[in-house]
């Protein structure tokens, strides 16, 4: 046991040393260009994958993706810490100094547990549930059980879009649980048969198709699915944007064009977002 442990440590150290020196010799000849992107954690996994494909086509480029939230993307783009920012919404009125380039679309859907007999909710019912006027599933055609309302944390684009669509302010919402990222919401709803939440359609549809016990409710009669966001019929959708502080040039321009081209459509669909190029 002890010898195994010592051997492992030796191997680890050897691997680290080897890992260091091998790639170095390849790169001495080429000069490396770096592209730094920061911002929304929803967009980050997608852009990281696009970045990897971009790197394979342009071997002297490094695309570094960092998360931190849409607001961070805005701040870092303005201060120059990032070459390009990522945000999961459109630019706001006080962000006219920035330029945005949409690379994909996403929607926001209400989700409930699969065992919940309720199959749809009207706009007013959703508003009443979230403001605490309706507190039992019984009142909307479900079981006699208290509703567990799940809301997103302040500052997140998903929350802002949700509030905007239902014309609410955050103080009016009376949640029982507040979550951070999409998966936390999905896990909360799948673990609690009486919970209700709203998440990105991409994430929701993926999980529902992979046997996680949640279901997506239609909004205003339109089913919540990636295809309905694609044909623009779904009422609550949002753009996923790359932003810059000035007209992009050089490698940034090439990257943005690449991200908006059909060459990455399969990557976008793999993340269950809607591509915009066709």
């Amino acid at each position: 046991m002890k010898k195994l442990g010592q051997l492992t440590i030796l191997i680890l150290i050897a691997a680290i040393v080897w890992g260091y020196f091998k790639p170095h010799s390849d790169q001495v000849a080429m000069s490396i260009e770096k592209l730094v992107l920061t911002g929304s954690s929803t967009v980050a996994p997608l852009v990281a994958e696009i970045g990897k494909r971009f790197e394979s086509l342009h071997p002297n480029v490094r695309v570094d993706v960092q998360t931190g939230g849409s607001s961070r993307g805005v701040t870092d783009t303005r201060t120059g810490l990032a070459n390009i920012g990522m945000i999961s919404r459109a630019l706001k009125k006080n962000e006219t100094d920035l330029l945005s380039f949409t690379i994909a679309l996403d929607g926001i859907s209400i989700i409930i547990n699969q065992s919940n007999p309720v199959s749809s909710l009207s706009k007013q019912q959703i508003i009443d549930i979230y403001t605490g006027k309706i507190i039992n599933w019984h009142d909307v055609g479900g079981n006699n059980a208290p509703i567990t309302v799940v809301n997103k944390a302040e500052g997140r684009s998903t929350l802002e879009l949700f509030l905007h669509h239902f014309e609410l302010t955050n103080t009016q919402v009376k949640p029982h649980v507040v979550i951070g990222d999409n998966q936390q919401g999905i896990k909360t709803v799948s673990g609690n048969p009486n919970a209700i939440a709203y998440v990105s359609i991409g994430a929701g549809e993926y999980e529902a198709e992979h046997n996680i016990p949640i279901k997506l409710l239609p909004l205003d009669g339109i089913g919540a699915s990636v295809s309905n966001v694609h044909n623009r019929s779904f009422p609550l959708s949002r753009p996923l944007n790359l932003i810059t502080s000035k007209q992009p040039g050089g490698i940034a321009k090439t990257f943005i064009e690449f991200a908006r081209s059909v060459q990455v459509n399969d990557l976008i669909e793999a993340q269950y977002f809607v591509p915009i190029a066709n």
């Binding site: 607001s71 944390a153 302040e154 909360t188 919970a195």
Partner: protein, 265 residues
Amino acid sequence: MSAAVILLILIFLLNESLSIFQHVSVSRFINDASWHPQQGLYNITPMLSATILSTVGALILATPLGIASALFSYFYAPKFLATWYRRLIELLAGIPSVVYGLWGLTTLAPLIAQLHPPGVSLLTAILILSLMVLPTVALTVEAAIAAVPASYLQGAMALGLSRWTSIKCIILPAAHSGITSGILLATGRAIGETMAVLMVAGNVVQHPHSLFDSVRTLTANIALEMAYAMGDHRAALFVSGLVLMIMVLLLVFMAAFFKRKPAYV
């Protein structure tokens, strides 16, 4: 050097927080209607009570369990079992907080939800925190007990004292300095725990009226909102960071006040 680091951190926190104090007075952090920074409301007291309650709860659970654990592996267990038990505890000291949080969210919370919704609550946070802090207490207490000179135990046995009595009256007091530092470390860890609590406490900003209410600790709040906060909101979060530091400061000075010199000289 560590004092230098602390000073640096303090200065940094103060600097970031000051901007908000220019137009929001300190009392508003206590008296505002609620915590809704986007609408200019900055009451942090519900989160303060959440942090305090969850830490105290976790300590109440973890301290006796941790000490009992250490006693078990050092005195009560047969040699073979003791080694494996100790290995288990060490293994658990190394499990990342995200894993505990994940387990809490996917297994513990649904269980508690069946007892009383919503499942993610103060109770869940306390349970997960005590799990996380237990190895810290157990390991440091065991190190402290191991450091008590063998002559003490031999002396007790020579005097005819029973195992429990010699533990209670001689070993534990002799090791109390190490035990206290173990508890202090555990408290520090519990106050500062961010990720796991974020996943299991529910994160609703409210004073808990029961163990089953969802709460948000100061740390979870910073983690949840920092990335998305700008301007005043961001400064308000730094203020809560300052509050955390002050809490720890107070705790530390209190503990120092009660700590006596080592029992042996």
